[in-house]
Symmetry: C2
Subunit: 196 residues, 2 copies
DNA sequence: CCTTTCTGGAACAGAGGTGTTCCATTGTGG
DNA sequence: CCACAATGGAACACCTCTGTTCCAGAAAGG
């Protein structure tokens, strides 16, 4: 990331548009391929990205570099999503639903993060990311205000949200439930589950 | 399974006590090793079982045979658990909680079944096992009787139960929450989530 | 248009897992 | 106590994935 393989000339020079596009293609392909099969080979990823295996290695020297890059990518998107949800505004349950909605849109990417726990270890996602902490704070606020169930641990309510999101994704993926239907089932159930 | 490698003498002869014990040891070790790392090698399994790699191959000629055996084992346990829960008795929500409790006890084994989807394909677990169908029937009964939320699809409520179970296992495994605490959180939340 | 960047393919060595065979050793049960 | 069941280890060929190098051709971009 910091040390590029195009060292010479300037210093601020980032990455050519071509390279940026190729990088994204590989990253996106990796997400969908790895979601389907956690043990997929780099050859599979390359093929899915419409790119030579050599090129994948050119961007991500080792397998772990690719995984780390995915982790970083997801972390950024999660942070942005949490930001958009404005967790500090309005009633806690509604803020939680906004977050759920934002996260739902991230789809596959979060599914992958969910069941490939190594990603949490890779690429500086600490145990508690900023987004996780913000959610935890939100839950505590809701419990204080009496809008969220105060009798269970805040961490549990957090997990419940993730679990229902996961269920909704599965419903959409395996049962072919339309995305918006799955999401509204999720939100409805979440609303009831976290109520006092 | 049907065709043993001890063909001679009788016909009803099952398996020596020694062999049965070894088989179980391998199966159990495989579950815990594979739960920790889906891509673990047969060598790892053998080591965990306190058995030579050759011996593993003697019982399960190919990797897929071992996986299939795990699948079958889990399927049987699930069926027995569903049976013990007596899904046809009493109020639907309570029956659902009994099932949840039984499933929770299966621990690792179900976790594995959950995130190694191949198992569903291996070893004759059809899309809808008998236990799944019984649960679906239970949910429909509850909806008819007005004790379960009638406005959502029965399949969704089923998924919600699994999702909360999963969350409870994770809570126990990663946060070190005592098993009974995790279970009661799960049941409390489930009760609210599925209520009309 | 021509130079620089970027790419894909081939070919390679190495690592690690798999499945097999063979044999010496241990143990279990009659 | 003795035969036979059951085991563990070594050695084997084979496969797949990885990571690397090298080079010729395509694609940008000035």
């Amino acid at each position: 990331m910091g040390s590029d393989d195009t060292p010479a000339h300037g210093a601020a020079t980032r990455e050519s548009a071509t390279r940026a596009r190729t990088r994204r293609a590989i990253l996106d392909a990796a997400v969908s391929v790895l979601t389907a099969d956690h043990g997929a080979s780099l050859g599979d990823v390359a093929e899915a990205a419409g790119v030579g295996r050599t090129t994948v290695h050119r961007y991500f020297p080792e397998r772990s570099d690719l995984l780390a890059a995915i982790g970083t990518d997801v972390r950024d998107r999660v942070a942005a999503a949490a930001d958009r949800a404005r967790l500090d505004d309005g009633p806690a349950p509604e803020a939680m639903e906004r977050l759920c909605l934002e996260y739902f849109e991230l789809g596959d990417r979060l599914l992958l993060l969910y069941d490939v726990p190594q990603f949490v270890a890779w690429s500086g996602i600490e145990e508690e990311s900023a987004a996780d902490l913000a959610l935890l704070t939100l839950v505590r606020r809701g419990q204080r205000e009496g809008t969220l169930d105060p009798e269970v641990d805040a961490g549990w309510l957090q997990d419940v949200m993730w679990a229902l999101l996961y269920a909704a994704w599965m419903q959409a993926r395996d049962q072919g439930t339309p995305r918006h239907t799955a999401l509204s089932l999720c939100l409805r159930t979440l609303r009831k589950a976290v109520a006092p």
